[in-house]
Amino acid sequence: MDIYESHSINKEEKELLLNYLGRDPSHTEIGIFSVMWSEHCSYKSSRHWLKKLHTEGIQVIQGPGENAGVVDIGDNQAIIFKMESHNHPSFIEPYQGAATGVGGIMRDVFTMGARPIALLNSIRFGELTHPKTKFLLSGVVAGIGGYGNCVGIPTIAGETGFDSSYNGNNLVNAMCVGLTTKDKIFYSKASGVGNPVVYVGAKTGRDGIHGATMASGEFDDESEKNRPTVQVGDPYAEKLLLEACLELMQKDAIISIQDMGAAGLTSSSVEMADKGKVGIELNLDYIPTRQQNLTAYEMMLSESQERMLMVLKPEKTEIAKEVFEKWDVDFAIVGKITETNNIVVLHNGMIEADIPIKFLTDNAPMYKREKIKKNKRNQKPQPLPGIKPKDAILKMLNSPNICSKKWIWEQYDRTIMANTLNDAGGDAGLVRIENTEKAIAMSCDVNPRYCHADAKKGAMQAVAECWRNIISMGAKPLAITNCLNFGNPEKPEIMNDFVETIEGIRDASIALDFPVVSGNVSLYNETNGDAIKNTPTIGGVGLVENIGVLDNFGSLNIGDSIYMIGKKGSHLSCSTLEEVYNGESSIDPPEIDLYQEKLNGNGVLELIQEKIITSCHDISDGGMIVTICEMIMMDEKGATINIVDNNKMIGELFGEDQSRYIITISPELESIFEKKMKKRGVKYELIGCITSSQLKINDSIIISSNEIRDAYESLIPSVMNNMA
């Protein structure tokens, strides 16, 4: 293997590199090219397609291309948010992989000037019974908690899924949401020839070298040997860095700022210079290091955590230094902005690298990879066995993808910052904006089963489900971020799914005015050639303008009527019921009508904002009855449900038809409700009423509150607490 291959630079890319430089590169330069041209940094397989996403709207202040996306929430305030994957490291070393995933996404947000106000995550593992799942789940959860809890940002929402396709590649997608004022948003574009380039944060060590390259390849049985490429997180250092940066941001000293994420010093310096169309010179003699004798190659490629690069106004350098020293954070002037348009790296009096920046960015390889629509698996829906409704309800509540995830979220500090308005209840997290009557609702969603069966439809449904969850909290949906987790894009079927996913996200976000403002792509999620199911995780935010309308919202009253918004359920292909009973799901996910989706959602939003209904939840995995069980458990009540046609009961209870919600309403407001829905063209159906306890369906099926709760809550503790 030659030095290029060992840096994952293929033959064509090697020719391109030599052609660009017109000479042999130094070892350090090969390292720089290898990380900048890695899939992780260059988006070489996805870049072409990502341009097709819908990224605009009057609410958008900054779309994709910066550290995070920015949306307007009025009153001169802005929300900055992004989601990012840390899949590969989390499989090799779950605690540190997940912890540094949280740390990285937080830095993306506070780099832009926002104080983080909430964290979310979407995590996926192999089957609950797979021998590695327990180890990975406990490590990932402890890592997410360990980092976020220590920095002091509440982790307020998320989702956890289990599926055999993740047996060899678990997913950790972390999202951070921050708050700033519109006049205090910081960008990465460098400017001002001669201005100082400043390094702040933790010292540089040898950890994480080639992390970006590792995250751009597949796994095999030897992947454990990559453990040294996983970075080690220090949330304490992050907390100090956060406070120091936010303090400096009040002092009009920063021209540009960029966190050192994947490919550390290399990508941060290249990106800043590239955005400003300037050159940058780094003198590595001044880099704060953890060990002695780090080489230029190691320093440029290290992914040590909790570091930032800034370009400062020269006259403010001393003030900045004082701020960082006060917070015990390293501060070093390590270079300057130049007019060469090159990145020049000096070390021990030698020029270690001198590369025109465009070769690393705009002119980096870009592939329009072959794509072939995969043959629809010739798999008819398996007949479901004779299902008794009561058994099925309990079995569903006790299944890995439906059951309570309390064991997980109780390890996350959800109340710090004292603004969490719905502690682990409700379809989305809800955090108040301090000193205002506003709140931000947020949710992460995707159904990989749907995406695997039909990439485009699945992607549309992920956007729509996120939209629904935010609506259910009484919030107006604003914008989304995404994490596109896929297998090897060099396989034409996977590339095809990727492209269809982009189309699906685009169509749904246009229809719902829910633009994409930031995102991340994670490819090569494969082990020994087995790819994960497509998992385009969608993270959305929405705005509640007046939290007063939510007083008492969510508490059920005995005698309230239960209505379904949308049509009765019937679609069981690709459903959770099928997965639970047949072990796998068939190929036809439910249809989604984006026009109807919008009508239904806006109708529900009006009902909440005008205080007509007492609670609202969307219907998703497991169908209507799972939503009702979750509602009555949360408020310790019961429900009576009437199904008119016994032959259609299973479909009505468990069907996963889209664009639906369950609402509860006091009977005296029903006529207003009906009038409003009819006017909007929204279908609805009276299905039952709230009682004091137990679930009763058609007088014949009775399930006690305890049976429901035991089924729902026992599964994960029984697996995880049994450490044998």
Binding site: C150, K239, T415, I416, D423
Partner: protein, 221 residues
């Protein structure tokens, strides 16, 4: 009433605590750094929660040895009222201003949830606005809240009626379900629950407000 909040590197509940004092009492507290030489004149000093120095040694161990803690100890001995919340409680036990110590939760996991607590006595500076044996609901969020003391210390805590509040149900392995306690002079309180996160019913509970109100009550009556 002058309220001072001491921030250590890694403290992360300083702003929440300041906001709670402001909301409940209408007083703007002073937040000082542990690197300051002295604590300003204060009627109430609060050490808020967090992960001082990352809690990379024992929780609170390094903070307890900061020079400013000499001044805090002096104030405590002079009878100034002091509250340590969560990491603040750990710092106070590490400094031996409160008896016992806080071990890792028996589950060995971080626990974040609202818990029911019983107020043990209402005749102190911190609890006059509660009823004795009243059950209140306040969030906890900690990894090391498992109160431990040797048998003699535990006996003396109980004999002197130093327990401030107890978990209604066992949660983290704490002996005698102790969630908070006083020093012998009843001017220093340490507690694992976070009253500063329970001052607004919109966030689920406001049962923590009365700790701050009790303090104000003392100074205004």
């Amino acid at each position: 009433m002058n309220v001072t909040i001491i921030r250590f590197p890694g403290t992360n509940c300083d702003l929440d605590t300041a906001n709670a004092v402001k909301k409940v009492l209408g007083i703007i507290p002073k937040i000082i750094s542990c690197k300051d030489d002295k604590i300003p004149k204060s009627d109430l000093i609060i050490i808020p929660g967090g992960f001082s120095y990352g809690d990379y040694l024992r929780s609170g161990a390094i903070a307890a040895r900061e020079p400013i803690m000499d001044d805090l100890e002096l104030r405590g001995n002079q009878g100034v009222y002091i509250i340590g919340i969560c990491n603040g409680f750990q710092i106070l036990t590490e400094r031996k201003l409160l008896p016992g110590s806080l071990l890792k939760n028996s589950s060995l996991k971080f626990i974040s949830k609202n818990v029911e607590l019983k107020i043990n006595r209402n005749d102190t500076f911190f609890t006059s606005k509660y009823q004795t044996d009243e059950v209140v609901n306040i969030p906890i969020a900690h990894h090391d809240g498992n109160f431990f003391a040797d048998q003699d210390t535990l006996n003396s805590i109980e004999d002197n009626n130093q327990v401030a509040l107890r978990y209604l149900n066992p949660i983290n392995g704490s002996l005698n379900n102790i969630a908070g306690l006083y020093n012998k002079n009843l001017n220093i309180l340490g507690l694992m629950p976070h009253p500063e996160r329970a001052v607004d019913i919109k966030t689920g509970t406001n049962d923590g407000s009365r700790i701050f109100e009790s303090a104000l009550n003392f100074y205004s009556t």
